[in-house]
């Protein structure tokens, strides 16, 4: 594998290794200066692209002091946006949770043809542009859409109304919980469930007492990620929302409206709420990951 290992090179390698492990572990570390340079470069890149934007959100939000900040996040339109964001997430997450458990049960516990195609189909919403996700719901529920005339006759509005926002949110968050549960349940196998069934437990009892306790951290992990996306989605809900203030504005849409009105401080104040949500998400995610790691190492 290695070309022309010169004697001189090897001697140099041995002589600069000063650790007591010289004989068992040869040089597999870069020189200290190289480590410093690489670490410095990596941290500089991350500071530029992660830390700086994070600091900028809060700095811009607090530019005119706490009073302006608090006023911006407690005005009626902002509160309505918070409420709608929470509502959409509260509907989308439980539905995708049930879907995730059902999909993982079918895929992880049974063998059937077309399984890998099904797994790819579940991942599909990840590769669809959010704008296209919003558009396809317009084609079905919009005025010119398949169900448009029928919906209008029955006085039901989906597009430019709350149901459209909920549907778009569900679409973009479909894969999150399923894709955490499928590999986890595949790794756990079927022995425990089979034992429960043979000992006389019903299917639902097995799911409730055996499977769910085994996957609870994966379930929580998927839910955290699903929630972050559900509350933060912008492109898909932007298409179906119609941007009616106080009615069909989620938090991330409200940020856009305030920004386009040159109300920058208020826009960043609302944005800072979403940035806080992102930070809480990352903290919870790291915590759950450490729990999962502990479980595996035990």
């Amino acid at each position: 594998m290695v070309d022309s290992p010169s004697q001189g090179n090897r001697i140099k390698f041995m002589s600069i290794t000063q650790s007591p492990h010289t004989f068992t572990a040869p040089q597999t570390q870069e020189a200290p200066w190289a480590r410093w340079v690489l670490t410095g470069l990596a941290l500089a890149f991350l500071s530029l692209f992660l830390l700086l934007p994070l600091a900028a959100v809060f700095s811009e939000a607090l530019k005119k002091g706490w009073e302006v900040y608090l006023a911006a996040i407690t005005e009626p339109d902002a509160l309505a946006a918070i409420q709608l964001t929470l509502t959409a997430a509260a509907i989308a997450i439980p539905l995708n949770l049930i879907f995730g458990i059902a999909a993982a049960w079918a895929i992880a516990k049974f063998e059937f043809r077309g399984k890998s195609i099904l797994i790819s189909l579940i991942d599909l919403p990840f590769s669809v542009s959010p704008v296209v996700a919003g558009l396809i719901y317009m084609l079905i529920f919009g005025l010119q859409g398949w169900l448009g005339p029928w919906l209008r006759e029955h006085d039901i509005s989906i597009i430019f109304a709350v149901p459209g926002i909920v549907l778009a949110t569900i679409f973009v968050t479909v894969p999150f919980i399923a894709r955490e549960l499928i590999p986890l349940m595949q790794a756990q196998g079927t022995e425990e469930e089979e034992a429960a069934i043979i000992l006389g437990a019903s299917g639902w009892q097995t799911l409730w007492y055996i499977t769910l306790p085994n996957i609870k951290w994966g379930l929580l992990y998927g839910t955290i990620l699903c929630n972050a996306r559900a509350m933060g989605e912008f492109g898909a809900v932007s298409v179906v929302s119609g941007h009616i203030r106080g009615l069909t504005n989620t938090l991330s849409l409200h940020v856009e409206i305030l920004y386009n009105e040159y109300n920058f401080v208020a826009a960043f104040a609302v944005a800072s709420l979403l940035a806080l949500l992102a930070l809480v998400t990352l903290a919870l995610k790291t915590f759950v990951e450490s729990r999962v790691a502990q479980k595996i190492s035990r």
């Binding site: 992660l50 900028a56 590769s127 069934i197 492109g235």
Partner: protein
Amino acid sequence: MSKHKHHSVLPGFNLALGFTLLYLSLVVLIPLSAAFIHTAKLTWPEFWNTVTAPRVVASYRLTFGASFAAAVVNAFFGLLVAWVLVRYPFPGKRLVDALIDLPFALPTSVAGITLTAIYVGNGWIGQYLEPLGIKVAFTPIGVFVALTFIGLPFVVRTVQPVLEDIEKELEEAAAMLGATRWQTFRRIIFPTILPALTTGFALAFARAIGEYGSVIFIAGNIPMVSEITPLLIITKLEQYDYTGATAIAVVMLIISFVLLLIINLLQWWIRHRKAIA
């Protein structure tokens, strides 16, 4: 379908699979098919003229060019960040590791207005770039910056676990045989992480192509210059040109499906390698 039950004693297969398929069909598959069915109303020349109009082609060029450039930068720095996180100890490492996923967790509109604020003429970075004649906000470079932010976690998160799994013995053997660190990296480590690196690159690229929220604030959205394809779809929708919007959406969908296929093949490649090793 004869493999169905696979002599399993577990119940609930029909219910679970039935619900999965029903839910996926209602939420994902039927709505997606609506785009293709709607476009079928167009004749082939009508479709072709819509999706190859000069303004549309300019938007493809920007979208794919900026996405590619952003994915390349992310491949390089993502590998560097993954390497540093796996191999070198430094204070605050856990915090940095957790922060990598910020672009996944931060809503795209927040990312968009924040990056714009940083790169405009009087922004934290913009004020130093503008005197040098470099304009970032409201130019194609701004699109590239936003897409780099959005794609940052992909390469790090695909390469990191593979780097962690590399056996030290191989590197020790290479060093014993007289290889320099650079030779070991090029000949031993890099080939091992190449599939993961390519997957991360493809994921970042695929995500960037569809991205909307973080880009529209910083792009300036000038037709033919800094207008991305997803924005063009929205513009057409706002003009009630549903058919034109859908035709462009179908082009994007087909490209996404091809990319998804490539990513799946890459992942198969990784698993295959692991099985051999």
